[in-house]
Symmetry: C2
Subunit: 202 residues, 2 copies
Amino acid sequence: MPTTRTPAGSARDRILDTAFRLFYAHGPRGVGVDTVIAESGVAKATLYKHFPSKDDLVLAYLDKVDQAWFGALRAAAREAGDEPREQLVGMFDALAGACRREGYHGCAFINTAAESPAGSPVHARTVEHKNVVRAWVTDVARRAGAADPELLARQLTLLLDGGLASGVLDGDPAVAEAAKRTARALVDAAVGGAPGGRPTRQ
Amino acid sequence: MPTTRTPAGSARDRILDTAFRLFYAHGPRGVGVDTVIAESGVAKATLYKHFPSKDDLVLAYLDKVDQAWFGALRAAAREAGDEPREQLVGMFDALAGACRREGYHGCAFINTAAESPAGSPVHARTVEHKNVVRAWVTDVARRAGAADPELLARQLTLLLDGGLASGVLDGDPAVAEAAKRTARALVDAAVGGAPGGRPTRQ
DNA sequence: AGACTAACAGACAGGTCTGTCTACTCCAAC
DNA sequence: GTTGGAGTAGACAGACCTGTCTGTTAGTCT
């Protein structure tokens, strides 16, 4: 078992943590490799050993973001209770939580994709992330008994993305609030009736 | 009236048109001044005469985007007819039109803001743009007789931003389609009843 | 004709970026 | 004790970026 010479985690972890922080704040293109090196207290050769190119580091960053955001989304849904229809609304608390957080700067995927060429790996990774999230929402929508789970999932992720996008500008809590209220309205319309719910027309 | 030595518009126009095209495709930070100069067939000194710094050119680009997008939005609303409630839904045709366009790459404002520092002029201009659009939507919502025009406008712009953001990834027409259907549902819920008191036509 | 203006052409300075490379230092395991 | 892996420190190449500056050309106005 390899031991660690440095006390605060492995060099790889320090690099990735630092990159996460800096990339999210300024965008990958706005942060030079030298800055990542300086802030993580690591030698340049070490960085390029773990991540052969900056693009590899950016992809690792996106994977980390995916874990964090998708995790927050599922946690928020879980906290809303056992009812799928409540979970669909509850996941918007993750948006509110993100907006409140200091240094909130919108959706890392969208921001990163915006500064990447069209067919790049970054782009592909972003599409994949969005698809995974939407597939999960579709599943919850189906369990909630939505008339058209695909449509409802599309609507909710559209709202989510809209809220995230606005967040690049100002972490206005009103956005998250409005998104959640809208989600509730859409879920009620799609599922109808009461929790437990069979589709009933209002 | 000053004559033009160059056949295809003034040098300033050529610079701005080229910048518009390149900045939108690759992001302002992804395009060097030299490229703008080469593609617009202009001397460097000429560019720096009209736009003292690259940032000034970026702001001019955003103004041009604002005119184009806000214009498209109003045109789409206008084409939906005289009824404000129809206009609220009709403006989503502008989103569909944008998604269909070759080289569609999402919302220029959000993309540009994503690569700009937090307090920058670019950021301020973006916030201003979003506020102007939302104010206009609020006005239409009010004329449509919405119970809570501010909320409805917030909901619709959220949808719009979500649709634009998803568009960075793939110009999937399903997104615009879903956004429009959702808009119709939200407008119906907020306005209730029908245009002129008749039952809804959908 | 002469002055003025707008634009062109392109060299240049000073900085930043990514990625490579050399040389050195620990530390653990064999 | 030696070997090898992981890390540190930092110079360096080559590209690219913004912005400045010099000199030239052409058309307009007086």
